[in-house]
């Protein structure tokens, strides 16, 4: 059981408007693992997140993606969500008139089933999550992401993750726009949701900061649509210190 990958990406190539962005991604995440993808702007980090979630603007040209052995690429975004994929958006969209509480209940119901969105378990989970994230009760009657501050948006994404309990949580730059307390809270949320479970997480980030709190099992460096280097947590420190130039140099030397 432990050795079957939760997520298996093989030779993934994807384009948008006929421009190739992902040029052959290979990645395996085992149950209970947290991985991080780092890279410069434009390296394909956010595209990876969007392609995994199934954004219709991206075309998958080649490769395969499996979640617990199921072919994700065959599914529409909402089916992937129901299969257990969750994306914490870098720029979450607002839905004026749709109340947070109502949205959470409907989403949990759509993904985990009606029963999970009812009764004491849901209420307790919601209460705990909101306390942990420092969100006030009045938050529930606000409209989804409408007039939220940057920090509120990110906290709301994590709250959704905590309630939805995904098998695979993808966090797209969730740390940007958060202060250090916010980052710590998010990291705790990820830990609580992933560690010791059969779930996994893929953290996409520019910075080392969130990784100091989450402590990923593996770090991958993405350059020009390919994972060029993978390693343990020490890789993040090295990138923080030296930037990406040395990785690029290594790649050129190897070619």
């Amino acid at each position: 059981m432990g050795n079957l990958p939760l997520l298996k990406i093989e030779g993934l190539e994807a384009s948008i408007d006929d421009t190739m962005i992902l040029k052959g991604i290979n990645l395996e995440i085992l149950p209970g693992e947290v991985h991080a993808v780092m890279g410069r702007n434009g390296s394909g980090k956010s595209t990876t997140a969007h392609v995994l979630m199934g954004h219709p603007d991206y075309e998958v040209v080649n490769g395969s993606v499996q979640l617990n052995g199921e072919d994700l690429l065959e599914m529409e975004a909402f089916e992937r969500a129901r299969a257990g994929v969750f994306l914490s958006f870098q720029y979450p969209h607002s839905v004026p008139g749709l109340q947070v509480g109502n949205f959470l209940r409907r989403s949990v119901s759509a993904i985990r089933g009606e029963e999970a969105a009812k009764g004491a378990e849901f209420r307790n989970l919601l209460k705990e999550g909101m306390e942990q994230l420092g969100l006030d009760r009045s938050f529930l009657s606000r409209y989804v992401n409408d007039g939220f501050s940057g920090g509120e948006k990110k906290r709301f994404e994590i709250l959704q993750m905590m309630l939805i309990k995904p098998k695979l949580a993808i966090l797209d730059e969730t740390d940007s726009g958060l202060d250090i307390d916010g980052i710590r809270t998010v990291a705790q949320g990820v830990d609580a949701a992933i560690r010791g479970s059969n779930s996994g997480a893929l953290i996409i980030t520019h910075y080392n900061r969130i990784l100091e709190h989450v402590k990923p099992d593996k770090i991958h460096v993405l350059i020009d649509g390919k994972i060029v280097k993978s390693g343990g947590p020490e890789l993040a420190n090295k990138l923080e210190e030296k930037g990406y130039d040395w990785v690029e140099q290594e790649v050129m030397d190897n070619e």
């Binding site: 979630m53 199934g54 954004h55 219709p56 603007d57 529409e76 975004a77 909402f78 992937r80 969500a81 129901r82 969750f86 994306l87 958006f89 979450p92 969209h93 607002s94 839905v95 004026p96 008139g97 749709l98 109340q99 949205f103 409907r106 989403s107 759509a110 993904i111 409209y143 989804v144 959704q160 939805i164």
Partner: protein, 468 residues
């Protein structure tokens, strides 16, 4: 299902029809004789007969409006409309006494159930006449009058004579003239001073026959310091030929009174809905129109409030949904005649599949009206490229002390917004329904809960099959 049902469009759920068992049915077409016959049939006082005849002649002479949707208006064939049809000879107080077909139809529409749960009184009109009417006893004991309009005229002639056409003169427009000439049914409500009708009273209007004209007339008088919430709903079968619904509603809010009038209009897509609704608010009175237009072929309706008394307040909160072949030309009119009066207009429209939504509004502030406040917000949401939204706002402010705010926006549903909701497990149609219901939320939250739920379900149905 008959031939006509084959043209049933989309997911309209109220499009069935009963066999036509008319006890009295007038031939198609309109003449002075038809008008006199309607009046004679109802045994009306002479002043009403003469008022009808005057209105008929005005209707004949008055040209069609030269605005709104002239093309669709010109398609109305007034000679192919049945102006009076009676399916039941009496108005019953007990559903069991209503003819079975008709009772089943109202059952399917959920009216008796709603009545038991949350209404103070119900009137159900089928074609030209009310077939069922009832009011809670405790309200009757407090002196609340809630009758169908014909009974109102018979039993309270003096009140009716005083107020009938006092807010909407018959010559106000072509369709108010038509209604005054051939009106039948509708509600008559009087709420005595200081009485608060806690639960809403409801009227439901059903057209069943083909090429039918329904011309109900409603008059609501709220005496000093009283309050009432009136709710109306309506549906019709889907036919390949058109029907005409042309109502007149007059509201009188005496000093300190509060009238709220809520409508969920869900006519089938072959009904012309040309309605005049207007209220007068006296000192410190409030009139609110909560107006939802989901169905019909062409709706032209601009609920109006005349703020006649100092410190009076008006609100018009409306939504319009226009699908394929539909044009909702809706809006609001407010006239600030007195000082310290305030008004708020919120209009939301959604257009889909080439549907067309127009906001047409007029706000005037008279030179003598000091310290008035006006707030107008119009938002349109387009669901595709072929749909259309127009805004025709007019403000005539004669007093420099007035504070007027006006905002308008047009937005589209973006792929990113849909993707965000889909990533939370909602199919594309569900996601669209969430966006649409959210857009209408400022309206639905003003409705009684049962109506709000129904409206949300209605919109979710409209979103089904809308994704290419």
């Amino acid at each position: 299902m008959s031939e006509d049902a084959r043209s049933a469009v989309g997911d309209y759920k109220a499009g069935w029809h009963d066999p036509e068992n008319a006890t009295i049915r007038f031939d198609f077409g309109l003449s002075e004789q038809v008008v006199r016959d309607i009046s004679a049939l109802k045994n009306e006082p002479e002043w009403m007969t003469e008022l009808r005849v005057k209105a008929f002649h005005h209707f004949n002479e008055r040209p069609m409006p030269t605005w709104g949707n002239m093309h669709m208006l010109e398609e109305i064939d007034f000679d192919k409309v049945c102006y009076y049809l009676r399916s039941s000879d009496s108005t019953e107080k007990n559903w069991d006494d209503v003819p079975e077909d008709i009772r089943n139809t109202f059952d399917r529409l959920g009216i008796p159930e709603a009545e038991q749960k949350w209404l103070s009184g119900v009137t159900a009109q089928y074609e030209s006449e009310a077939v069922y009417h009832s009011i809670r006893e405790d309200l009757e004991e407090q002196g609340v009058i809630f009758l169908d309009m014909d009974s109102g005229l018979r039993e309270y002639e003096a009140i009716v004579k005083k107020y009938f056409c006092s807010v909407v003169p018959y010559a106000d427009n072509k369709f108010s003239a038509l209604n005054t000439a051939v009106w039948s049914g509708g509600s008559f409500i009087y709420v005595p001073s200081g009485v608060h009708v806690e639960m809403p009273v409801q009227a439901y209007f059903r057209i069943n026959a083909k090429n039918m004209g329904q011309f109900e007339r409603t008059l609501i008088i709220a005496d000093e310091g009283s309050s009432v919430h009136y709710v109306e709903g309506c549906t019709a079968p889907t036919y390949s030929t058109d029907s005409l619904h042309s109502a007149v509603v007059e509201l009188i809010a005496l000093p300190g009174a509060h009238i709220r009038y809520s409508t969920v209009q869900n006519w089938s897509a072959n009904v012309y809905n040309l309605v005049t609704k207007r209220g007068i608010a006296h000192e410190k009175a409030t009139i609110e129109w909560i107006d939802g237009n989901i169905g019909s072929k062409l709706t032209m309706k601009y609920p109006a409030v005349i703020l006649k008394g100092e410190g009076s307040h008006a609100e018009v909160i409306s939504v319009a949904y226009s699908g394929k072949g539909q044009h909702q030309d809706a809006g609001a009119k407010i006239h600030h005649l007195a000082s310290n009066t305030t008004s708020k207009i919120l209009s939301k429209s959604i257009s889909k599949n080439g549907g067309r939504g127009s906001y047409r509004g007029m706000v005037t502030v008279s030179p003598k009206a000091e310290n008035c406040k006006v707030n107008v917000v119009c938002d349109a949401l387009l669901l595709d490229e072929e749909s259309r939204s127009d805004t025709y706002p007019t403000m005539e402010v004669g007093n420099s002390g007035a504070r007027c705010e006006h905002e308008a926006s047009v937005s589209k549903v973006s792929d990113d917004q849909l993707f965000y909701l889909m990533s939370r497990g909602h199919s594309e149609e569900e996601a669209l329904a969430l966006i649409v219901n959210g857009f209408f939320e400022p309206f639905t939250r003003e409705l009684p809960m049962e109506y709000a739920v129904e409206l949300n379900q209605l919109m979710a149905l409209e979103m089904e099959g809308s994704i290419g």
